[in-house]
């Protein structure tokens, strides 16, 4: 690819314009001078400049549509194109959130149906579609648990949230943000939550447990029912981090396994694109007991004039709204479309093939890269180690960067924290056997290179738009904008 792309400001030329606007067709009203700014340092570019600039930038970016993207815990599955068409229908994209419900019944029906579908798929009683992302859903769920226990059950002394050491960073961060304390629970030698350690912390200060299941090792906790029983017996509630729900569609319903509240990442499990970091959508599903605490408004139905009407309803003991308006509606449309395309059997096939692909890939590479829990059947992902026999100086980072030269996006690196040199690999169900074979071959060739030409790995990538970037310099001397004249 070409050299560095200039910034939009470097393309700018005084007086150039890329817009058209209607003429003023009403009399002018004076704008008091004291309100008016003296400068506005935005670029001045033509439409063709804008288009070429961003198309060139897009060519410096890797997406699922370009190739395999096995980023563990991120479920980078193919994003169906019909979803994009659906979300752009003017009757969805061009409606204002505060319109009278009677003139947005179609949008509200879609939200209502999606609430129902998500509750059915996960085995819960109620849904709120309001949270904008997974971490936002976590905050929602923990605040619900807090209110249900502190106010609903009258036990305000419960302020401790137990989180396994394999958890996503969002879990402890969410706990702190909710004004609660985190207690980290170690994992046992099979990758499950260590129940003996857990029992030491079960007292009347426990608010609940946050569990990702399958966990970030890609393993279904073998003691799950015992774990949820212990937490409930101790008077706590079970939070489910639904980041890895892709493994469970039609396989098990978390609501039947003892979870009380869970978020769902529509941008992982339900095929909506990640957008280079967002938007996502993080609906929360919960039991009957917690339903009154959901954020809202949510969509409910009323029957009058022989018609079903969709109406906004605030759950009676709601924690309050967690954002403006109703949620990331544009993302909901895509998830709804996906569920309608797949139906029950299609969803189960998603989980089955995701798990099949992960186990197949694990089987192909575990002789070359250590897989600490490779003695177990994994679910939708597994964690290998970037440790190569005979190449002690080569690290997970080097392997990841070298994969770029082979045309693959690297796996998640150095996470979960409990596995040294972790490479967390999630193939998803939308990859073919050929792709998985090619990826395994690349990993094997890289292992060989590590022994014969480690420098090749240390200096990788060689085929990307830029070479390895100096992240230390970026943090020591932060340059977070570049606006000429500012």
């Amino acid at each position: 690819m070409r050299g560095p792309e200039p910034t939009i400001y470097e393309i700018s030329s005084p007086g150039r314009r890329g817009f058209t606007l209607p003429e003023l067709d009403v009399p002018e009203t004076e704008i008091p001078a004291e309100f008016v700014r003296d400068r506005l340092l935005l670029p001045e570019v033509a439409e063709v400049d804008v288009v070429r600039h961003y198309v060139r930038l897009s060519q410096k970016n890797f997406g699922v549509d370009l190739g395999f993207y096995p980023l563990g815990s991120c479920t980078m599955k193919y994003n169906p194109k019909v979803n994009e068409v659906a979300a752009r229908l003017p009757g969805f994209a061009r409606i204002h959130p505060l319109q009278d419900p009677e003139i947005v019944q179609g949008a509200m029906q879609l939200m209502y149906e999606l609430q129902q579908y998500l509750a059915e798929i996960t085995g819960f009683a109620a849904t709120s579609l309001q949270p904008a992302a997974g971490a936002h859903g976590e905050l929602t769920g923990i605040l619900m648990m807090r209110k249900a226990i502190h106010e609903g059950r009258g036990e305000p002394h419960r302020t401790k949230v137990l989180v396994p050491d394999s958890a996503h960073g969002t879990n402890p961060a969410t706990t702190t943000m909710s004004g609660l304390q985190v207690v980290e629970i170690p994992s046992d030698e099979r990758g499950n939550v260590d129940l003996n350690e857990l029992k030491k912390h079960l007292d009347d200060t426990v608010l609940g447990f946050m569990l990702t299941n399958p966990n970030t090792l890609g393993l279904f906790d073998e003691n799950l029912l015992e774990l949820t029983r212990l937490i409930h017996e101790a008077g706590g509630l079970m939070y489910g981090d639904g980041a890895n729900l892709n493994a469970l569609l039609g396989i098990a319903k978390p609501g039947e396994l003892g979870f009380d509240v869970m978020h769902i990442n529509l941008h992982k499990t339900f095929s909506t694109p990640h957008g280079g970091g967002g938007p996502g959508s993080g609906p929360v599903v919960c039991t009957e007991e917690l339903a009154p605490y959901l954020p809202g408004p949510i969509v409910d139905t009323e029957e009058h004039d022989d018609h079903v009407h969709y109406v906004w309803k605030m759950p009676e003991r709601s924690i309050g709204r967690v954002r403006a308006f109703w949620g990331n509606f544009g993302v909901m449309i895509k998830a709804y479309t996906y569920i309608r395309m797949l139906g029950a059997e299609g969803l189960r096939a998603v989980a089955e093939n995701a798990v099949l692909n992960a186990n197949y890939l694990q089987a192909l590479i575990k002789d070359v890269y250590p897989v600490p829990y490779g003695f177990r059947t994994c679910m939708h992902e597994f964690v290998a180690q970037g440790k190569i026999e005979g190449a002690p100086d080569v690290h997970a980072l080097d392997i990841a960067k070298r994969l770029i030269d082979y045309g693959f996006h690297p796996p998640t690196m150095y996470f979960p924290l409990i596995v040294a040199e972790a490479l967390m690999i999630e193939p998803t169900e939308t990859e073919s056997k050929q792709t998985l074979d090619a990826f395994a071959d690349a990993l094997k060739r890289i292992a060989e290179e590590a022994r014969t030409d480690p420098e090749m790995l240390k200096t990788a990538p060689h085929e990307a738009p830029v070479r390895r970037l100096d992240e230390v310099r970026a943090a020591r001397h932060p340059k977070l904008k570049d606006v000429p004249g500012m």
């Binding site: 890329g18 700014r37 930038l57 936002h136 961060a173 967690v322 403006a324 509606f329 099949l356 990841a400």
Partner: protein
């Protein structure tokens, strides 16, 4: 099976390599009684069928192109140039994840770096992050940042009653576990002095909106006085903005704001029923290490060439876990890129024009409404594109008449948030409202003034 490429033959071969007989055998860790539950969902559809169904649902909604809309209140119908959707439809952008691997994510990273730069230019602030979820959550994150700046020792927040009601509600939700005292909402509306009087040495921040929820513009001098009052007590001055207004309005960086937040939807994004939107979040450089959200920074690669990376991540949850400044992970990157494309396309002249057109058309509309008997324009203050009108009947009835008889989407019913403001409507006018639409609205309101509500016959819209 749709979206799953492997054939039965390939699956059989894969199972053989794994060493199990059937796919079901891979799920033995799932407790047997709960394995393979029935999902009660409608039957799967073909693409043609699902699109037909969705088109039908979409057609049940009245959109802002079918009907002239005078509704704002935090979501706006400003023009979206065609280039915006073209750029964000590039699947190299929209099918990427968060740019954790910078070497293959330079497109997203540079686009976000430029977004940050343009938000800094717009607000005249030192640093902008690469987005929060929306204006409401950005406001709540500003409160948490102010708490952290004061090491959680100051627990008092002053908030103006004319900050968007949904933003205020979100602040309460976010901070319900933090033992804060939130004051100011019962002060007289638009009375900045009354707010200033509430700031004390326990106050971590004061939040005001400019233009406020009722459309009022506060002058830089008024805002500076409030900033000074906040800073006299070392409280942070947080300003909620409408980014379009900054096309001509003096930006908050010029009146000493510490944190600037706002809803970025109007910068090139459709109203799409409330989301995805864009939380604008900018602040003074001295607070950067207490800030939340992703930051993209410039650096060089191994050959000395310019490149971009996510930086200062030690603030973030994936590194700092329970000590992180926020739990945010996924943000609104693609919406930020859309807004960057919008700001680049409009440029300094275009954005100013959008702001001026909205201002002039709103004032023309207000002047016309003021002449209708029974209607009173309560906005005697300087306003931007929204203004307050006291009506001769409940807003809901007026809006029913407007949509049914004229195909007009009326304004926002302020009694929903301010119980003393019965029969009071917040109207919004932008460059998208032609004079013809405005004149139709005037005629319709004149009919209402003439008693049309009593004689109108209700009919139902397509459902």
């Amino acid at each position: 099976m749709v979206y799953i490429p492997n054939t039965d033959a390939e699956r059989a071969e894969m199972l053989r390599v794994i060493g199990v007989e059937r796919v079901e055998d891979l799920f033995h860790d799932v407790p047997e009684p709960y394995r393979f539950p029935k999902l009660n969902l409608p039957r799967p559809l073909s693409e043609a069928e699902v699109l037909a169904e969705l088109r039908e649902m979409a057609a049940m909604n009245v959109d802002v192109d079918q009907a002239a809309s005078f509704l704002g209140a935090g979501a706006y119908n400003h023009f979206v140039p065609s280039v915006v959707d073209m750029v964000i439809s590039r699947s190299e952008f929209y099918t990427a994840y968060t740019p954790y691997q910078p070497e293959v994510s330079q497109g997203v990273l540079q686009a976000l770096f430029e977004y940050q730069s343009m938000i800094c230019a717009l607000t005249e602030m030192d640093v902008a992050n690469s987005s929060h979820y929306d204006g409401a959550t950005a406001t709540a994150e500003a409160v948490i940042m102010a708490l952290n700046v004061h090491r959680r020792k100051r627990k008092r927040v002053v908030i103006s009653p004319t900050v968007h009601p949904m933003y205020r509600q979100t602040v309460y939700t976010y901070t319900q576990g933090m033992n804060l005292t939130i004051v100011g909402e019962d002060t007289p509306r638009h009375d900045l002095q009354a707010l200033a009087d509430l700031i004390d040495d326990e106050t971590c921040c004061i939040i005001v909106q400019n233009p406020d929820f009722l459309g009022r513009m506060f002058s830089p001098a008024e805002m500076q006085a409030l900033a000074d009052a906040a800073h006299a007590h070392k409280a942070l001055f947080v300003v909620v903005v409408d980014p379009i207004s900054l096309g001509f309005m003096v930006p908050p960086g010029r009146y000493d704001a510490d944190i600037v937040v706002g809803e970025g939807q109007s910068l090139g994004n459709n109203p799409q029923f409330g989301g995805p939107y864009l939380g604008i979040f900018a602040f003074k450089e001295q607070y950067v290490r207490k800030s939340s959200g992703r930051l993209v920074g410039e650096t060089v690669d191994a050959e000395g060439k310019r490149g971009y990376v996510i930086t200062l991540s030690t603030r973030e949850q994936h590194i700092r876990r329970e000590k992180a400044t926020s739990n945010i992970c996924t943000n609104e990157a693609l919406v930020a890129i859309a807004s960057a494309v919008y700001l680049a396309t409009m440029g300094k002249e275009g954005l100013r024009k959008v702001a001026e057109l909205s201002y002039h058309k709103a004032h023309y509309t207000a002047q016309r409404i003021a002449q209708i008997e029974g209607f009173e324009v309560l906005s005697t203050w300087p306003f931007f594109k929204e203004f307050v009108v006291k009506c001769p009947a409940p807003v809901e009835e007026i809006n029913d008449y407007l949509i049914e008889e004229w195909g007009i989407i009326g304004g926002y019913d302020l009694s929903k948030d301010y119980p003393d403001m019965e029969n009071t409507m917040l109207l919004c006018v932008t460059e998208m409202n032609s004079r013809l639409e405005i004149d139709d609205l005037i005629t319709a309101l004149e009919e209402i003034a003439g008693g049309a509500l009593e004689s109108s016959v209700k009919f139902y819209l397509p459902t």
